[in-house]
């Protein structure tokens, strides 16, 4: 655990040593605001809630989180520091966890910086703040799932562009798995229970439950186990193919 903390600290500070942190946070907060206010018709809807704000998060994450995750391991490979890191007395799991947690906390900070939206809605109306808290929690959990996918795929390549594109594609699959685009592919041949299963993998379904204010244990378990699964695959990917 001590090692996870040391790696976590190094990674987290790393974001702020380069412009990455400021660019990412700036773009995230700006886009979240613009989407909500203009495209989401915040003022026209004239409802004191943040359903629109959270509704855009899966799409915002779709390209922002892979951009954050792509460097996690691909950069270590490119710079050769992976050899340094993995010959230190740390386990692969500690290294993967430390990096993931740092990226996740970083996302949490970015998410927290959208607080003006919350203030605005409270100033204009009288929203159910419990639902908003649930929304933030759900959004953070979903961001963790995106990150775990991105981290794992970043471990498979030394090329950050490839890591980005493939992560975004895999994340899109998870977002859309409740939509006909994906379900029709399975529906043509697969038995209904499989189609149901694929459909239940959708980020959107679970996320929408949470942002309605229904914090169901199953939704939390869903995201948590998705994170655990992808991080496990991440460790495997490194074990198998760390030299290349």
């Amino acid at each position: 655990m001590a090692n996870v903390l040391v790696i976590f600290k190094r990674e987290f500070q790393g974001y702020f040593a380069t412009p990455i942190a400021y660019v990412f946070m700036g773009v995230f907060v700006a886009l979240a605001g613009v989407f909500t206010m203009y495209i989401g018709g915040f003022f026209i809807r004239a409802q004191a809630d943040l359903a629109m704000f959270f509704g855009f998060h899966p799409w915002l994450y779709l390209f922002l989180i892979p951009a954050l995750a792509m460097r996690l391991w691909a950069e270590e490979r490119r710079a050769g520091t992976i050899e340094l890191l993995l010959t230190l007395p740390v386990t692969m799991t500690q290294a993967v966890l430390g990096k993931f947690l740092a990226a996740w906390l970083f996302t949490a900070v970015a998410l927290a910086l959208t607080f003006p939206v919350w203030i605005t809605v409270n100033y204009l109306g009288d929203p159910d703040n419990g639902i908003i808290v649930a929304g933030y929690l759900g959004s953070l959990l979903m961001a963790g799932a995106y990150l775990a996918i991105g981290s794992c795929i970043s471990a498979l390549t030394r090329n950050q562009v490839i890591a980005f594109v493939v992560s975004a594609a895999v994340c899109l699959l998870f977002v859309l798995s409740g939509y006909p685009v994906v379900l029709d592919v399975f529906g043509a041949w697969a038995p209904p229970f499989l189609v149901e299963t694929v459909s239940s993998f959708s980020f959107l379904g679970h996320f929408e439950d949470i942002i309605k204010g229904v914090i169901d244990l199953r939704d939390i378990v869903y995201f948590a186990s998705l994170i655990a699964l992808w991080l496990f695959l991440n460790v495997l990917a490194l074990e198998v193919n760390k030299a290349r």
């Binding site: 001590a2 090692n3 040391v6 790696i7 790393g14 520091t81 050899e83 010959t87």
Partner: protein
């Protein structure tokens, strides 16, 4: 008693390592062990398997077969315990370049389990040792190559490991920096087992107590640097610069000395060109310098210079690592 001491001081033991990369056999049955106090120079042409072997020894790559024990701990079965005993400078000294020197060394110290006051002390000591004081607060990517290499070295010796594995520690350094790094290695040598790879043969003479040469993944020579010199064609050849004697008569007199294979004229000597330079090559590397100087004294030749060749390592290196032409 002697045997027990021997076993205890054996810090690295490598047994029949094999490693393939696809169809290529990068390491093909390498075995050796390194004791405390030894500085083992790992030599070989590019692509011979030096770095791959070091990556296996330090636990970065798994071997296909064979085993590595560091201080008695098996690197595959018990990687954390083995890695704690190792300091490693990977090829090219990769570093987290967006960190400052201090932050990076504190990170390394943290991973090595040093906290608080102990961490500060370790970092300060190491920084003083490799002279990094002036760049402590600079981001690593702004440092010169020499400083980067020293930061990498600092990271590897921070925890005072028993085993030090250095992949080309002086690559890209200027002569002064090379000298400093070599002095540091020599100073640490008695308390550690050190494996360093290099393609600089002068480095073997400068710091190594033992030289292992590998070629195409196999060990082709293992011995003290002196033994390597002895295998050189020019080992114990004597070069003489004489004055006041005709080249022909000097050659004849020297060629008659027992053990001399041939004497060749290698140019005129002296500023006025009146002298003569001769190279006396012995049979089978015999020491003939005493005999040669006796002949010189007997004839009353004036000697401007006399030099005994140790034998050029490059020659030996090429002879043992060049592809065998007779087989193809």
């Amino acid at each position: 008693m002697e045997k027990r001491d021997g076993e205890m001081s054996e810090l690295v033991r490598i047994e029949s390592l094999v490693k393939h990369f696809g169809p290529i056999k990068a390491v093909d049955g390498i075995s050796f062990s390194v004791r405390r106090g030894e500085v083992l120079g790992f030599l070989g042409p590019n692509g011979a398997g030096k770095s791959t072997t070091m990556k296996i020894v330090t636990g970065f790559l798994p071997a296909d077969s064979g085993r590595v024990a560091v201080g008695g701990e098996d690197i595959a079965a018990n990687p954390l315990a083995a890695k704690r005993r190792i300091g490693y400078l990977p090829e090219g000294a990769p570093l987290y370049s967006d960190m400052t020197t201090r932050a990076f060394l504190e990170f390394a110290a943290g991973i090595r389990g040093f906290r608080g006051e102990e961490q500060r002390r370790r970092v300060a000591e190491t920084v003083a040792r490799v002279q990094l004081e002036s760049v402590l607060e600079q981001p690593i990517d702004t440092l010169s190559k020499g400083f980067k290499r020293r930061v990498g070295l600092a990271q590897s010796i921070l925890h005072d490991p028993e085993v030090l594995v250095l992949d080309e520690p002086t690559d890209g350094l200027d002569p002064n920096q090379k000298h400093e790094v070599r002095s540091l290695i020599r100073e640490m040598a008695p308390r550690k087992a050190i494996i360093l790879s290099t393609h600089l043969l002068e480095e073997v003479d400068a710091v190594c107590s033992r030289a292992v040469i590998i070629s195409a993944g196999r060990i082709v020579s293992d011995g003290a640097p002196e033994d390597l010199h002895a295998r050189a064609d020019g080992h114990n050849a004597v070069t003489l610069a004489l004055r006041g004697v005709a080249a022909e008569s000097a050659r004849a007199a020297l060629a008659a000395v027992e053990g001399v294979r041939e004497v060749e004229e290698v140019g005129g000597g002296g500023e006025d060109g009146a002298g003569v330079r001769l190279r006396v090559r012995p049979e089978g590397g015999r020491a003939v310098a005493l005999e040669v100087s006796r002949v010189v004294r007997e004839h009353g030749w004036q000697v401007e210079g006399l030099m005994v060749d140790r034998g050029r390592l490059e020659e030996v290196f090429r002879a043992i690592t060049a592809p065998d032409r007779t087989r193809s």
